[in-house]
């Protein structure tokens, strides 16, 4: 399978040619002259089906997906599993820093709250922050990357230089500085991760945009009088998107790790602890010196499981979207 086959959206073939592998699509060559939009939709859904069939064959990708679905369900069901008062500091019912018992399968924290309940509620925060931060960074990265690649003049060069600057600045010190200035809150941590992690995406998108811009169909679009906006939104973006999506999955993994680190350093929302926030609680309340392994082990294991799941899915998607890059996975 070539790169082009995996890319949905307007590929190089003119609108008059039927989709090359559209056997399952409703508009076959015999169904009369199909409309351009229906043709595009059929081609896209065929590409999606092909990608899914390929994804299903990857054992590690499917394992990652399974883990994610599990964590997603737990996060959604948190209020059903543990009513909100179980993680309130004042309504806690357990002994402080008690090892696992039947009532508290993962023990308790310094104020007697169930670690299991904290971890289940933490899943919501960690996942939401990871996804929202990735969305933000992907938006910034894609917009800057497409523009940097599309505009050849000083504007593109300036955007590219700007990306390079941001790429070099070390992430954690920058994030700490930003989070200190903005203050500790859930929204701010999303902003901080989003604003600091886009340069990688921008660089990737720019490279892909440059490759796409050299293709004949963009020359054709220009010759027919298509403006910059039309070229970018209708031709460049649809061809860059699959790569961005694969990259996004890998970005979520990084965003969740970043969130964990920042929360551990005390920059998260203290009232809604994520997994990193729980680890911060364990560290600052001396869980380690009393050997309270049940306080430290579960949140970290959850981070590893979710980050690994996103990484495996991302690597599988990368192989599907860009087989040449993917061979290394």
């Amino acid at each position: 399978m070539s790169v082009r086959d995996a890319l949905p959206g307007p590929a190089e073939g003119g609108p008059a040619t039927p989709p090359p592998t559209g056997a399952g699509a409703p508009d076959g060559p015999g169904a009369g002259p199909p409309s351009r939009r229906r043709l595009a939709r059929a081609r896209r859904s065929a590409a999606r089906r092909r990608a899914w069939a390929q994804f299903r064959r990857s054992r590690s990708g499917m394992a990652g997906l399974l883990v994610l679905v599990g964590f997603g369900l737990v996060a959604l069901l948190a209020p059903v599993l543990f009513p909100p008062e179980t993680i309130s500091v004042t309504d806690a019912t357990g002994e402080p820093m008690a090892p696992p018992t039947a009532g508290f399968p993962l023990g308790t924290d310094e104020s007697g709250r169930s670690i299991l309940a904290l971890v289940v509620w933490g899943a919501r925060v960690s996942l939401v922050v990871g996804l929202a931060a990735t969305l933000m960074s992907m938006l910034i990265g894609t917009v800057i990357g497409v523009m940097a690649g599309h505009f050849a003049g000083w504007f593109g060069v300036a955007l590219n230089r700007f990306t390079d600057w941001f790429l070099v600045i070390p992430f954690l010190p920058l994030a700490i500085v930003l989070a200190t200035v903005l203050g500790a809150s859930l929204l701010n941590i999303i902003i901080v991760i989003g604003v600091t992690s886009w340069p990688g995406t921008a660089r990737l998108v720019r490279a892909q945009t440059l490759a796409v811009s050299a293709r004949p169909y963009l020359e054709r679009a220009r010759a027919l009088g298509g403006g910059d906006w039309h070229q970018m939104s209708r031709h460049v973006l649809p061809n860059v998107m699959p790569l961005v999506l694969a990259n996004t999955t890998l970005m979520v993994a990084l965003a969740i790790l970043s969130e964990t680190t920042l929360s551990f350093l005390g920059l998260g929302d203290p009232l809604r602890p994520s997994w990193g926030g729980i680890l911060d609680g364990a560290f600052t309340n001396g869980a380690m010196s009393v050997g309270a392994w049940w306080y430290v082990l579960p949140p970290g294991l959850c981070v590893v499981a979710v980050v690994l799941a996103f990484t495996l899915i991302g690597r599988t998607l990368e192989t599907i979207v860009d087989p040449r890059r993917g061979v290394r996975a």
Partner: protein
């Protein structure tokens, strides 16, 4: 001017551009903080009135004038650390060596082990060693380094169940031991075991993945087919032909990813109370100690920018194709 000199000039200029950007950003970001700056800079500390007067006089100058002074010499800050009431650069100077010792040891060990694993896995891609090592390195790569440190600390420092805690739970040396004596050196090494292991394991995962990927990139190249066609042994093809070429991107990536090393140092030093720059950053941010935070951010950025310039130049020296 030859193409090599032009390339060198360009990468140095780009590095200086980034540096200027960091300095400007660093200056204006902290001027945006809400509230009385005097309170922020002296938080929770008894300061003699004349010092407050000096600080106020400094901060009352026009913003542009302050900026020009800062730009002229970003290291000559007149504002003391709020927590330690000392010039920030003195504090940083005291802490640099502990960090260099810890991080340097971890990087050396990790790059040796990591490249070895990467070469073995990449050369026989898909075989058992590769599958196991890739699984392990990906898992380690998904791990928050400070969490690994906490687990090691609880298990081998404090002791869990039948595992006795034999290693020190923090610090760089037992109080009262002379660091220049042999006993002192051994004591420091004993304190280094857990934090170095933590950092090494996390760095190693990255280096092994990078080395494996770049070796696999070389596998399809024609010169390897030629080497094999000459009848060279597999071992020689790997050692003399494939690995030297694959090492190139790995070496530069190790330098380029210094930002990642810095992150590890901040959190792992915090967990092990290692008295270096990382722990200083943690203290500064918990304050928050604005003057100190500003200085540390500048220092880390400079370190990473310089490493990037070196990586660029090194790459050009090692691979002449880049210079074109």
């Amino acid at each position: 001017m030859g193409p090599g000199a032009r390339y060198a000039l360009r990468s140095v200029a780009s590095g200086l551009g980034t540096l200027l950007f960091v300095v400007v950003f660093n200056f204006f970001l902290f001027r945006m903080l809400p509230g009385d700056p005097i309170g922020l800079y002296t938080r929770g500390r008894n300061v003699p009135p004349e010092q407050i007067e000096a600080l106020r006089a400094e901060l009352d100058r026009p913003l542009l004038e302050q900026f020009v002074t800062y730009l002229a010499n970003p290291f000559a800050s007149t504002i003391n650390s709020a927590r330690y009431n000392q010039p920030v650069w003195t504090l940083i100077g005291d802490r640099v060596w502990a960090t260099l010792l810890l991080v340097g040891t971890a990087i050396v060990l990790a790059s040796i082990l990591g490249t070895w694993i990467g070469i073995r896995a990449g050369w026989r891609r898909g075989e058992r060693f590769d599958r196991v090592s890739t699984g392990v390195t990906l898992t380690l790569y998904s791990m928050p380094e400070f969490w690994l440190g906490m687990i090691l600390l609880i298990t081998f420092g404090v002791g869990v169940g039948f595992v006795p805690g034999v290693f020190p739970i923090g610090g760089i040396i037992t109080p009262g031991v002379d660091p220049t004596s042999l006993a002192g050196v051994l004591d420091v090494m004993w304190h280094m075991v857990l934090p170095v292991t933590t950092l090494m394991v996390v760095y190693l995962a990255e280096y092994a993945l990078v080395m494996r990927a770049s070796l696999i990139d070389e596998l399809g190249e024609d010169y390897l087919t030629v080497a094999r066609a000459k009848g060279l042994m597999d071992k020689v093809v790997r050692r003399r032909h494939a690995v030297p070429n694959a090492l190139l991107p790995t070496v530069t990536l190790i330098l380029l990813n210094l930002g990642f090393v810095v992150s590890g140092a901040i959190t792992v030093e915090t967990v092990f109370s290692w008295p270096g720059l990382g722990l200083l950053s943690y203290d500064a941010l918990r304050g928050p100690d604005i003057a100190l935070l500003q200085a540390i951010f500048l220092l880390f950025s400079i370190g990473v920018i310089v490493a990037n310039i070196i990586a660029d130049l090194l790459y050009a020296v090692l691979d002449p194709r880049v210079r074109a």
